[in-house]
């Protein structure tokens, strides 16, 4: 056997061990972080946010149930849900929920003065970003996924047997999966954006509000600028088209086969930026 082959043989197992070490470290970070995301004072706001659409849909369901005698139908409810989903759940609940969860991923630990424990571990900082991002993703996807599913459930319950058969035999199931997928993608995109905002800004509230303003006026923007946002791609994926109003600048919706990979690529780039920033980060709690 040549010497070069021997070297490769020596290196290969160590690379495998490296990947398995990183996977183990990410899992360990997630165990710590998911716990923090679900338990503690900071989690209360997220639970309240996630509960808002469910409560609202439950109230609407009661209204629909009462109106059924006046010919309320599935088509109307679909449009009601699509509008409420985009306006309330996606643009508000998922947006601000992700802002709260992901901006606190690093900023919260700086405030709590506990980030140094990670920085003093034999841990690549890119692995730390990955573990913390994934833990934020688990928390946001679970909570806002439940919020989305609960909202659907409560709203269509109001339709009685028609609602049940819409999910059991009709297109309701695929629509529900599409909405859950959009919620998950919203968490992926907004999560990465807010994680990086939390790293770059000492007070991330202002950049978060600027981002909210940008996402809110997206429908007014020319097609080229529309694409520099998360909501544009998520809006394109909606199973029930939602009109953007009379003042909207009409743009060709981005097909799913482009919007989903596009969003994931942008997310990867943003996380790479976060990794770059975290490598340069120093611990100076006193100055925070």
């Amino acid at each position: 056997m040549s010497s070069s082959t021997e070297v490769i043989a020596e290196v290969r197992p160590s690379r495998e061990r490296q990947w398995s070490l990183w996977a183990g470290q990410i899992a360990a970070i997630m165990r710590l972080e998911v716990r923090k995301n679900f338990i503690g004072k900071r989690a209360i706001l997220i639970y309240l946010l996630a509960a808002v659409p469910i409560l609202l849909m439950a109230a609407l369901s009661a209204e629909i149930s009462w109106q059924q005698s006046r010919n309320s139908n599935i088509g109307e409810v679909n449009i009601i849900f699509a509008n409420l989903y985009e306006g309330l759940i996606l643009r508000t609940i998922v947006f601000f929920g992700c802002a709260w969860i992901f901006m606190n991923v690093f900023r919260g630990e700086v405030v709590d003065r506990s980030l140094h424990y990670y920085f003093l571990s034999p841990l690549r900082r890119e692995v730390l970003v990955c573990g913390k991002y994934l833990s934020g993703l688990v928390a946001s996807m679970v909570l806002f996924g439940i919020s989305t599913a609960g909202s659907l459930l409560f709203l269509y319950i109001g339709l009685g047997s028609a609602g049940r058969s819409y999910f059991a035999d009709g297109p309701g199931k695929s629509q529900a999966i599409a909405y859950l997928g959009i919620t998950a993608l919203g968490c992926v995109g907004y999560g990465a954006a807010f994680l990086v905002i939390g790293l770059f800004f000492r007070n991330p509230i202002i950049p978060a509000l600027v981002a909210y303003g940008w996402e809110s006026i997206n429908f007014l923007l020319p097609p080229v600028l529309k694409k520099i946002s998360v909501i544009h791609y998520l809006h394109s994926l909606s199973p029930v088209p939602v009109p953007e109003g009379p003042f909207a600048m009409v743009a060709e919706p981005t097909p799913a086969y482009l919007s989903i990979p596009g969003l994931l690529i942008v997310t990867a780039v943003v996380l790479a930026l976060a990794s770059f920033q975290i490598r340069r980060m120093e611990i100076k709690y006193g100055g925070e």
Binding site: L21, Q25, A28, I29, H116, Y117, Y118, K284
Partner: protein, 317 residues
């Protein structure tokens, strides 16, 4: 492969750190050998800055730092060998002492079983087994100090950096902790300790680094540092039967600058710029004049005196 000398030392090469306009440390060049090295200096002298520079929590504005030939910007290797018990009295929320140590050992990459064993061993070393399953939020200051210490030693590093590790500990725990430090140093570990309790520094340190206003004002073995301070003659108390005779003879030597008989008339304080030469003279006097000497003890050959002379009044911090 042969080891380079740097592979056994902590090296600061012309390191400066500025926080904006504020000086942290300036032009620090050090080579720290294994054993217990204490950092001593008043508040704001740069002790914590030096420790944070060693561990990469902050980066030098100029110069470089290496620990056993490793740099902190490769944490995956560096922190397998280095443990840092910082002064930050804060913890991840809602964890028990055991969970805290266990969780970060998992972050190191330990298996569940190894992390459990490591956590129990570390808690045992700091005598915190009884409180292992209590939430850290319910710990006293001394217990929090001990659990931080346990977390920093749990992965069995070869270099331990400890920022005021005795703070908040009761006297028994202090004695136990110092014993632990001496034991670890005996095993060949590097221990870098900052402390403001000077007599404890004197007791446990192999060498000291004195800092003031971001500058290293002295470094080395305590007695070596003291003997090099020629502008402050060494004070020695000789208990003997005829201090008057001794006082008359010590001035045969030019390096003796002062002699004062003790109030009880059974001892003589002398100040000399050359202690070794004085001890030789004392031997001669004892033989020639049949002097009975009960004891000979340096009065200011300790870290407290060194601190007072080099840094001035006030307590170290």
């Amino acid at each position: 492969m042969t080891d380079k000398p740097d592979d056994h030392m902590i090296i600061f090469e012309d390191v400066s750190k500025f926080y904006g306009e504020i000086l942290g440390v300036n032009r620090v060049t050090l080579a720290i050998e294994p054993g217990i090295t204490s950092l001593v200096g008043p508040n704001g002298s740069g002790k914590t800055t030096l420790m944070n520079l060693m561990t990469g929590l902050i980066r030098p504005t100029r110069g470089s730092v290496s620990v056993l030939g490793l740099r902190a910007d490769h944490p995956e290797v560096f922190f397998r060998k280095v443990g840092y018990c910082s002064q930050f009295d804060s913890f991840p929320r809602a964890l028990t002492g055991f969970q805290f140590i266990h969780s970060y050992l998992r972050v190191h990459g330990y298996s569940k079983k190894d992390a459990q064993d490591g956590a129990w061993k570390a808690l045992h070393r700091v005598d915190l087994l009884d409180a292992a399953h209590l939430k850290i939020g319910a710990y006293s200051k001394g217990m929090r100090q001990r659990v931080r210490l346990a977390q920093s030693i749990a992965h069995e590093p070869v270099v331990m950096i400890l920022d005021e590790p005795l703070n908040g500990l009761d006297p028994m725990a202090r004695a136990e902790t110092i014993r632990l430090f001496r034991q670890l140093a005996g095993e060949g570990l590097h221990l870098i300790i900052s402390s403001h309790i000077l007599h404890e520094v004197d007791m446990m340190s192999d060498s000291v680094i004195l800092l003031n206003n971001g500058y290293v004002v002295a470094e080395g073995e305590i007695h070596g540092v003291r003997s090099e301070m020629e502008e402050h003659p060494m004070q020695i108390l000789i208990r003997c039967d005829r201090p008057g005779l001794l006082a008359a003879r010590v001035f045969e030597q030019d390096s003796v600058v002062e002699a004062k008989i003790h109030r009880d008339k059974h001892g003589l304080f002398i100040k000399t710029r050359d202690a070794d030469a004085f001890y030789l003279l004392l031997n001669t006097i004892v033989v020639e004049d049949d002097l009975t000497v009960e004891s000979v003890a340096p009065v200011d050959d300790d870290i407290n005196a060194v601190y007072q002379y080099l840094i001035g009044g006030g307590e170290a911090a």
